[in-house]
């Protein structure tokens, strides 16, 4: 997968820093919250806790994500899945459509869902952009064409109560992994506008005036 600074810039433009900062603060807290809330329920028992935590965590994370979009340019809606068996949160900011998903490991494959497959088709042209070194007659996506992106998160394998990774990933329309992905830190950092300091080069010495100047070879 190659570097894609243009796509990163577009994503950063769509996701304001306060929203990202909010996610940074909230998601680790909600991981802990889900674990504690479910473990505290005496009706569940250990197996029940294991079953309930992912569901509960998903619900509170999606709610928090929607709350964080308030006072930002991002629109959040709750939509039913294709078969209306569940609901999911959909965010829209500029040309980006975003959803949130849990993964067991950063390299894992996302669970199939009709709505994700549908949105992934938005990335058809984006997938061609990533092969722009090859001659093609196919139309190439403009960076302001609709793009689908998923906020992927997953638990730390050594401590399920804390998130171990978070990234923004652009699913391939044919379901074969990601066209591009950015670590959450990369996006957060780009959005925080934390550029290296401009540095003056003051490492210069000034020649003193001396009588004994010259090598004598002139």
């Amino acid at each position: 997968m190659r570097e894609n600074p243009e796509l990163l810039a577009a994503l950063v433009k769509a996701l304001p820093y306060p929203f990202l900062d909010g996610l940074k603060e909230t998601i680790p807290r909600l991981y802990m919250e889900a674990e504690q809330a479910m473990s505290a329920d005496p009706l569940l028992g250990p197996d029940g806790v294991e079953y309930a935590v992912p569901h509960y965590r998903r619900a509170i994370i999606e709610k928090a994500v929607r709350d964080l979009t308030k006072n930002t340019q991002i629109k959040a809606v709750v939509l039913p899945t294709t078969k209306s068996t569940a609901k999911y949160t959909m965010l829209q900011s500029g040309n980006f459509r975003l959803t949130v998903s849990y993964l067991n490991s950063p390299s894992g494959q996302i669970r199939g869902a009709e709505f994700r497959n549908t949105y992934s088709q938005l990335n058809k042209l984006l997938s061609q952009r990533s092969f722009d070194d090859f001659a093609t007659d196919e139309p190439i996506a403009e960076i302001d064409s609709p793009i689908y992106c998923i906020l992927i998160h997953g638990a730390d394998p050594f401590d399920k109560r804390t998130p171990g990774f978070m990234k923004w990933a652009f699913p391939h329309p044919n379901g074969s992994g990601w066209i591009a992905e950015f670590d959450f830190s990369t996006v957060l950092q780009a959005a925080s506008n934390l550029k290296p300091a401009t540095q003056a080069d003051g490492a210069h010495a000034t020649l003193k005036k001396q009588k004994d100047e010259g090598t004598g070879d002139e």
Binding site: Q189, L194, A197, H204, K208
Partner: protein, 401 residues
């Protein structure tokens, strides 16, 4: 009366011997004289005969004039070593001599050039360094950042920042795994930081440089005896570490750009801050992002995952610019020829090139190593000696200037 070498300075022989990590017996063996004779030379009780003098110059790769140059008495030293306790005496000896030579080079240049003025924050230091709090050290680091105009942003080139603010930075091989860097600032003298080039890790070396800056700012009033006391030395080192971490990773901006203290997040951050992942884990603990248990677990995971080195370690070391620029100005301005510089400095070309940060071959016009590349003969498959190599044409590459 047998002829001798008039004006021979015994201390120079000691320096030359220590610079290559030899003891008196070793040097005696090298020169084919007795250890007692070496001792007599070094104590200025006897001076070498011309043929021994020639041997000394030849074996130690130094000019005769080097052994005739008086030594400046610097009085009590206040060198601050990292990992002093682990460094061997030979390593410290070698480092001290090389540092002394670097100073001689700088003093030579200072007769001809005005260097940038030393610009360190004036901090009111409590009289007892043991009472410095973490907050105090964080503030000291921030005031230095502000004085140097960095605010809370990542610093692209630490060595350039030091040099621009009047600190002389020398980079050279220290020849010891356990010796990374040291610094010295004597009254009425330049402030120096000597950085080892042995490990070749940019992020690590940046940390070393700022660690030494911490010593220069925080420990200017600390006495030599405190550096020798192991328990005080530990405190001094940990304070310089804290300073370096605070200076390189200011709490506000580091936390702002970090979503969670995970190894992956630190890996991404390394590209921005140019601080090692391990350094960031320690910083995260200092800033209470990790509790003791999480810290311990992360260090274990770190050791497992980065057993063969961290990603991003291939970055080049930051190079000092100030001293090499002086040499370039002297030569290009026709103020001194390279031959004159060699004579006046009386050190070997290799030593000057290394200590002054000059490219290899600056003095000798070295054209680069010539390697004979083997090439296969044409139609090798058809011949019985298929695969045998013949020498190729030799192409000379000029060393970078």
């Amino acid at each position: 009366m047998k002829p001798t070498t008039p004006g021979f300075i015994g201390e120079r022989l000691t320096q030359a011997r220590r610079s290559i990590g030899l003891n008196g017996i070793g040097l005696a063996g090298l020169l084919g004289v007795s250890a007692t004779t070496i001792s007599q030379y070094e104590k200025n009780k006897q001076s070498p005969r011309p043929e021994v003098m020639d041997k000394i110059c030849d074996k130690l790769n130094l000019s005769r004039s080097f052994f005739l140059r008086p030594i400046v008495d610097r009085g009590a030293r206040k060198l601050r070593y990292r990992s002093l306790s682990a460094a061997t005496k030979a390593a410290r000896d070698r480092a001290e001599v090389r540092f002394e030579w670097a100073r001689e080079i700088v003093e030579y240049l200072a007769e001809k050039f005005d260097f940038p003025k030393l610009n360190l924050p004036q901090i009111e230091l409590p009289s007892d360094f043991r009472s410095f709090t973490s907050e105090f050290i964080e503030e000291a680091a921030m005031s230095c950042r502000q004085l140097w105009g960095f605010d809370v942003r990542p610093i692209p080139d630490v060595v350039l920042a030091l040099e621009s603010n009047g600190i002389i930075v020398i980079r050279g091989a220290l020849g010891a795994e356990t010796l990374d860097a040291f610094s010295e600032h004597l009254p009425n003298d330049f402030a120096y930081i000597f950085l080892g080039s042995d490990k070749g890790l940019c992020a690590r070396s940046r940390f070393d440089a700022v660690h030494e800056l911490g010593h220069l700012i925080l420990h200017k009033n600390v006495e030599q005896k405190d550096f020798r006391n192991p328990s005080d030395f530990k405190i001094l080192e940990s304070q310089a570490h804290r300073f370096a971490a605070s200076f390189l990773l200011p709490a506000s901006s580091f936390l702002k750009s970090l979503w969670a203290p995970t190894l992956d997040a630190f890996r991404v951050q390394k590209e921005t801050w140019n601080v090692s992942i391990k350094g960031m884990i320690v910083r995260a603990r200092q800033l209470r992002l990790l509790d003791a248990q999480q810290y311990q677990r992360m260090m274990i995971n770190y050791a497992r995952r980065f057993r063969d080195g961290e990603p991003g370690d291939e970055k080049e070391l930051e190079r000092p610019r100030l001293v090499p620029r002086c040499f370039d100005a002297l030569v290009s301005g026709r103020i001194r020829t390279k031959a004159q510089l060699l004579t006046e400095l009386s050190l070997s070309p290799n030593d000057i090139e290394e200590l002054a940060g000059l490219h290899r071959g600056f003095f000798s016009g070295f054209l680069g190593e010539v390697i004979q590349m083997p090439v296969l003969k044409k139609q090798d498959a058809e011949k019985p000696d298929a695969g045998e190599a013949i020498p190729a044409n030799v192409i000379f590459f000029r060393a970078n200037s």
